[in-house]
């Protein structure tokens, strides 16, 4: 993670300035993960989890667009790997790419140690709507094709890892 942070700092893509934190020209901030989970519970109870998904998807598109401007010439697979490093740096869990098919534009991502799932507690529904949205936005931008992401396995449901299937919007 130190390598990722150093690269961002050296290329001036993460900046602390005037009380604000900027990553790829977008404002970000530190939220206590426990506070986020409390908010998430209310969102899920009021059936508004898709609001989170869509907002995160939009943020994912913007972030990756700005990232591609910051690092021109990055190949698609490089961008995906770099993107996973950034999301892992953001402190939501460890992300890895399980598989990707650049022709069909289907991919599977895995998150281990999801902080949200761990703090949420046991439930019968998937809970990683933020990451689901971020990955959908990122992949949509990188592959130049709108995709949606679905969390098929979640630690909060008792699965060993969280797993996300990403595929083109039909």
């Amino acid at each position: 993670m130190f390598k990722v942070m150093s690269k961002l700092l050296m290329s001036n893509q993460i900046k602390f300035t005037d009380g604000r934190l900027i990553l790829f020209e977008r404002d970000i901030f530190f939220i206590p993960t426990a506070a986020f989970v409390q908010i998430l519970k209310i969102l899920i109870d009021t059936k508004n989890e898709e609001v989170l998904y869509r907002a995160a998807k939009g943020a994912g598109v913007t972030w990756f667009k700005n990232m591609s401007l910051a690092y021109p010439g990055m190949k698609q697979t490089e961008a995906i790997n770099w993107g996973m490093d950034i999301v892992t740096l953001a402190g939501w869990g460890k992300i890895s790419l399980n598989s990707i098919n650049l022709d069909s534009k289907n991919s599977i991502f895995v998150m281990t140690d999801s902080l949200v799932a761990k703090l949420y507690g046991k439930t019968n529904c998937s809970v990683d709507h933020l990451f689901r949205g971020l990955v959908a936005g990122a992949v949509s931008y990188i592959l130049n094709q709108e995709v949606d992401a679905f969390e098929t396995h979640c630690v909060a449901k008792g699965d060993p890892v969280c797993r996300f299937t990403v595929s083109p919007v039909k």
Partner: protein, 172 residues
């Protein structure tokens, strides 16, 4: 801000591990501001915005209580001096304590260049609920007395800065 971040990193009070960030021993995560603002707007429409205040307060109380215990920091003056520097790291804006009446536990805090109003747009009500909650939780942990925080002026309402009053009791 770089100074405090460096100091926190060197003292291992800010740690970036793989998939995890710990600040004063508690998990934090980086969230894009526009995502937060969208959530705030939708929950405000359902009258559930208080969760932002309460969750911020709970988290900050836990943060500071843990920090005080683990680091064995008992001097409330030192903790109060540290608090705005710490809050600046969270990147909600530039925090300053305008007035501190420790005897009566009443504080006035300003937030310059605040994050959420700049993304929220115009509002008839203050919008920095989570930050307000964090203030209350942190001061409660430092002085071990119930306090609450109220945002009295917000940039989203047209003021030049956001102002918060933190004082004893359940009503401000």
């Amino acid at each position: 801000m770089i100074d405090i971040v460096t100091s926190l990193l060197l003292s291992k009070n800010l740690e970036f591990e793989e998939g995890e960030i710990k600040l004063l021993g508690q998990n934090v995560s980086l969230l894009p501001c526009e995502v937060y603002v969208n959530l705030f707007k939708v929950l405000s429409q359902s009258g559930k915005e208080d969760i932002f205040y309460q969750s911020g307060k709970d988290a900050a109380f836990s943060w500071f209580s843990n920090f005080i215990e683990v680091a064995n920091k008992r001097d409330t003056n030192d903790l109060l001096t540290f608090l705005p520097k710490f809050l600046n790291v969270l990147a909600y804006g530039k925090v300053s304590f305008v007035k501190s009446d420790v005897k009566n536990l009443k504080f006035e805090i300003s937030l310059e260049n605040p994050l959420f109003p700049s993304h929220y747009g115009v509002s008839t009500k203050p919008v920095d609920l989570i930050f307000s909650g964090i203030l209350a939780g942190a001061i409660k942990a430092i002085y071990k007395k119930e306090v609450n925080s109220k945002e009295t002026k917000c940039v989203a309402q047209g003021f030049d800065r956001c102002y918060f009053t933190v004082s004893k009791g359940s009503n401000v």
